[in-house]
Symmetry: C2
Subunit: 332 residues, 2 copies
């Protein structure tokens, strides 16, 4: 299992991406350059570029210029969605610094996000064919559609598991999916593996969003009564909350639902103790494991392709992180 | 001079565009389709499509599918910018119905505008080469950059004429310019005319924005003290206001400036009577005429190209509209 050194393997490509992103700042109009720079300089986890570099991986380990450019396109789309998300969530801080919305005001942030989307598509248009543009523009539309569904149903407690799955499939799994599909494509992998990478990316994306929702939920629970978790505070119905609601008695359930609907402080039903007893974290972990199993099984039969071991390593990494959380959520 | 029948000449293309735009609704995710439909169903003036059809005009008068698609791309980008503009301006009504921001809330409107941008670029990616994507994504970034500059300097009364020109060059002239450039290109016109069409579009766009600012300003002045003009209310420094400020005495000037800075009701300096005496409308009309003259002169030497007479007809139409306004502004 690679796990430990996946990130050192892709580091040369990631360094090239840093240089590429810095150079992009110059492409913006001089008057908005410093604002664009602010948005591009986030020290994010760069998950999507990692997927591009891994699925496009060849034994040689050379930095491939086209993969760097593709990673830049997808990361810039992702950063644009973050700029717009933070407006909606009234988020003040992301990754230890002020959000663009807080720094420049929500109005400028709307337009700034737009310029990032445009520039991402502009880079995409420099590939020799229209394929990258076509896929990225369609995926981005799907990401935004997922965000719209989520936004329109805030504080709507009638959401089903199917609704939740549809939203995360669009808002998160979509960019994971095309990162893997196009990474493989541009990296020159064979057609069968490219298709497998597409499915892998989608399931990994779903698993990752469930993990992210669990982090938000458990992270919160530690300081219940002080600050609400972003998702709880903004009335988003996520998987851990759905699991909790299912396990509560009728009265507790109603109390929690009406507190969320009205944006009030949450009742004691959402407490560290109750989570442990009810085993919420382990239930969500099981759903995540299911998705990771699907991601892994998409790779079956493609073991001879260079990226497969790295891709499996990524699923192992996520699984370990979920286990760590789960321990925290049950025995902390 | 064509003027009168320009619009009947392009009507078959415009009808094809209507059908094309309606069909686009199906491309959006089912859950957001009705919202996308709402945004696409605006009964706007369709100026940019008109420019596409006119500059791509051939003697045959046939409806050209690629021109319809190009017009659809540019109109959809324009509609997306309107959705985002209306959030910023807190506009409730546009073209006699509620804005998307008012109808679905500002958060959903941010994302809805994003999906329109994405879909526009997605259509653009269906041309055989990446050229349309490349031009449209770059232009759209420039439009948004212009809007950012305007947004960041609201209620900033230090703006110079050069700043104003730069903003309208980006936020308005840019899409006029590429409508003409790409209309000519996709319409199969010769290279010399295509370049001329580019310059024509830019100057026509600048002239149009000045006209639009004058309409906002004079339209307002009629009901001064009741509702403020959008531009005045949102503290945008436009050409007519700059002309007014230049002609006012020191004290009146300061009163007006501080009222605008603080978003208070405007002093009497902005009244119908004062406009007449000061001749604001005719001064702005002179600037518009200068731009229209530049637009016309870009066409010199290309008289043998089919669109030239129609393009001149468009400048004549705008000039007539400005004269009508000017009469209203001085002798009403």
């Amino acid at each position: 299992m690679y796990s430990g050194n996946i990130f050192s393997l892709v580091r040369p490509s990631m360094n090239a991406l840093d240089i590429f992103m810095q150079a992009q700042v110059e492409q913006f109009e001089p008057e908005i350059r410093s604002m664009a720079k602010y948005c591009l300089e986030t020290s994010g986890k760069r998950l999507r570029p990692t997927l591009v570099f891994i699925t496009g991986w060849q034994e040689s380990g050379h930095v491939v210029g086209d993969l760097v450019r593709l990673a830049g396109v997808i990361e810039m789309v992702h950063l644009a969605t973050l700029v717009h998300d933070d407006i909606m969530d009234h988020a003040e801080i992301r990754r230890n610094r002020r959000t663009a919305s807080r720094e420049f005001g929500p109005d400028a942030a709307v337009l700034l996000g737009d310029t990032l989307f445009c520039q991402a598509l502009h880079i995409a248009s420099h590939f020799p064919t229209t394929e990258v543009c076509r896929m990225v523009s369609e995926s981005t539309r799907r990401v935004c559609a997922g965000e719209i569904m989520q936004t329109m149903r805030r504080r709507d407690m009638e959401i089903t598991l199917a609704d939740y799955q549809r939203v995360i499939d669009l808002k998160t799994a979509e960019l994971f999916r095309i990162s893997c599909l196009m990474g493989a494509m541009i990296g020159g992998q064979n057609a069968g593996f490219t298709e497998a990478a597409n499915d892998f990316g989608r399931h990994l994306g779903i698993a990752y969003q469930m993990y992210d929702d669990l982090v938000d939920f458990l992270g919160e629970e530690k300081s219940v009564g002080k600050t609400l978790g972003t998702d709880l505070a903004t009335g988003k119905l996520t998987l851990p909350l759905m699991c909790l609601l299912e396990k509560l008695s009728g009265q507790e359930r109603n109390e929690l639902l009406s507190a969320m609907r009205e944006g009030r402080d949450l009742p004691l039903a959402v407490s560290v103790e109750r989570m442990k007893v009810l085993g919420i974290a382990s239930e969500v972990a099981r759903s995540i494991d299911d998705e990771l199993a699907k991601a892994r099984s998409a790779l079956t039969g493609h073991e001879s392709c260079a990226p497969v071991e790295l891709m499996r390593g990524l699923t192992d990494l996520l699984q370990t992180q979920v286990q760590d959380l789960n321990v925290k959520g049950t025995d902390d």
